[in-house]
């Protein structure tokens, strides 16, 4: 069985976040389309060699964001309403930006300096992928 998701030990983010990000990307690039059935939690855990509880956590989070829906019992599907998920993602981003702005004020950075740092982060993130 091939793996849908790969976990990096060098990635400092917790494993459930890595899984969430990779599933979002699968959906974004169109590998998994609206209404498609996702692998079961247990199947994904086994193919990734990650505990069931970690995959369960990732699915719950994706469900909360509206990216996937779980119908009676066990099967999970890619949500039809993809707009809803991007809305939630934007709200989440705004929260992170607000936190960044707060720290910026504490460090007495100007808006320009903060934007410059953000730009550097974007470039760094682009080189990684």
């Amino acid at each position: 069985m091939h793996s849908y998701v790969t976990i990096s030990q060098a990635d400092r983010r917790p494993m459930y976040l890595q899984i969430i990000e990779q599933i979002r990307r699968r959906i974004a690039v169109g590998d998994w389309k609206a209404g498609d059935e996702l692998p079961s939690i247990r199947a994904l855990a086994i193919s990734t060699q990650v505990s069931v509880i970690t995959v369960k956590r990732a699915y719950l989070e994706l469900e909360r964001e509206g990216v996937i829906v779980t119908r009676q019992g066990k099967a999970s599907f890619v949500a039809e309403q993809v707009d809803l998920s991007s809305q939630l993602r934007r709200e989440e981003l705004d929260q992170h930006l607000a936190a960044a702005a707060q720290i910026g004020r504490e460090l007495a950075l100007t808006a320009e300096e903060l934007i410059e740092r953000m730009r550097a982060q974007m470039t760094e993130g682009g080189e990684k992928s």
């Binding site: 976990i7 030990q9 400092r12 917790p14 494993m15 459930y16 247990r42 855990a45 086994i46 060699q49 990650v50 505990s51 069931v52 509880i53 970690t54 956590r57 504490e106």
Partner: protein
């Protein structure tokens, strides 16, 4: 009927220089539990009690719904136990060992044994004494897995294995969990293996369980906070703070009950929170052991 693979209630066992003290634990079917502890913590003693190789002085032990040690014969058909000090016959071939185990256990799955031979790159005509350490560990695991036991008790299964053999072993262990009626308890020093495949994690030190919970809870509740503290200011103590180390204006706070409120509480107290760091399971383990020892010493 029970859906608990393991149930320990107030289990104690005393030796002259070591005691397992009042251990209570449960492991539901369909899950993997990692048992983490320093050398001499009591991991092997605990696993040997579950296997009824030694008997508890006090407390209830139930394995797959069977009371141990009274019903150990019935339970053992369905338990697969592997430990580091397990010996195979050096002059026997792997094939001889497979026929031997198959002759005892009706549950022996010959096609699965063949699949495992291929996956582990082992051959039946190999003599045990000609195998490397890693091959021997895989051979022992094969002899146990091919019986398809419902509960796997593994004492340090990955110790001394190279990264490839370790990976192969973890793949097979995860594969066992396809069947939700099965369960695995394994002990390890390797917190990376434990963090990766365990649903439940139990920390043990000096014969006591110091913490036991599902992995996500562990990872979510432990954090390190980097604070800047005004000169001549002593940090107030908040609930759930396990350790504070301060030098100059910088303090590092370790907590096992992280929440946004804690960050706000430090802010209101006059400190500036610069960073909130997640901790690896290894860091959580060490902090947990040190905190527990400090508490017991005071």
């Amino acid at each position: 009927m029970t859906d608990l693979a393991i149930e320990l209630e107030g289990v104690s066992k005393a030796y002259r220089f070591f005691a397992l003290n009042d251990v209570s634990l449960t492991l539901p079917c369909g899950q993997i539990m990692g048992l983490v502890g320093p050398n001499g913590a009591g991991k092997s003693t605990l696993i040997r009690i579950l296997m009824s190789l030694i008997h508890q002085d006090r407390g209830q032990v139930r394995v797959l719904g069977r009371s141990m040690p009274e019903e150990q014969v019935a339970a053992k058909w369905q338990i697969g136990y592997v430990s580091e000090d397990m010996r195979l016959y050096g002059y026997g071939t792997l094939g001889w060992h497979m026929r031997f185990v198959a002759s005892i256990y009706p549950s022996w799955d010959a096609p699965y044994a063949q699949t495992l031979l291929k996956r582990f790159n082992l051959r039946t005509e190999q003599q045990i004494k000609s195998l490397s350490h890693g091959e021997r560990a895989k051979a022992t695991l094969l002899l146990m897995l091919a019986r398809r036991p419902r509960l796997l008790l593994l004492d340090e299964p990955t110790t001394g294995l190279d990264p490839v053999a370790r990976h192969e072993m973890l793949v097979e262990l995860m594969d066992v969990l396809r069947d939700e009626r099965r369960a695995i308890l394994f002990s390890s020093h390797n917190t990376q293996d434990v963090e990766q495949i365990s649903d439940q994690i139990t920390f043990i030190d000096r014969g006591r369980i110091i913490d036991s919970s599902d992995k996500e809870t562990f990872i979510e509740h432990w954090r390190r906070l980097k604070l800047e503290v005004p000169g001549g200011f002593t940090l107030p103590s908040f609930a759930g703070v396990v350790d504070v180390s301060q030098s100059g204006h910088i303090a590092t706070v370790t907590t096992n009950a992280y929440s946004d409120e804690l960050v706000r509480a430090y802010g209101n107290a006059g400190a500036t929170v610069h960073e909130v760091q997640r901790m690896t399971l290894e860091e959580i383990f060490v902090a947990n052991v040190m905190a527990s020892r400090k508490e017991r010493a005071s």
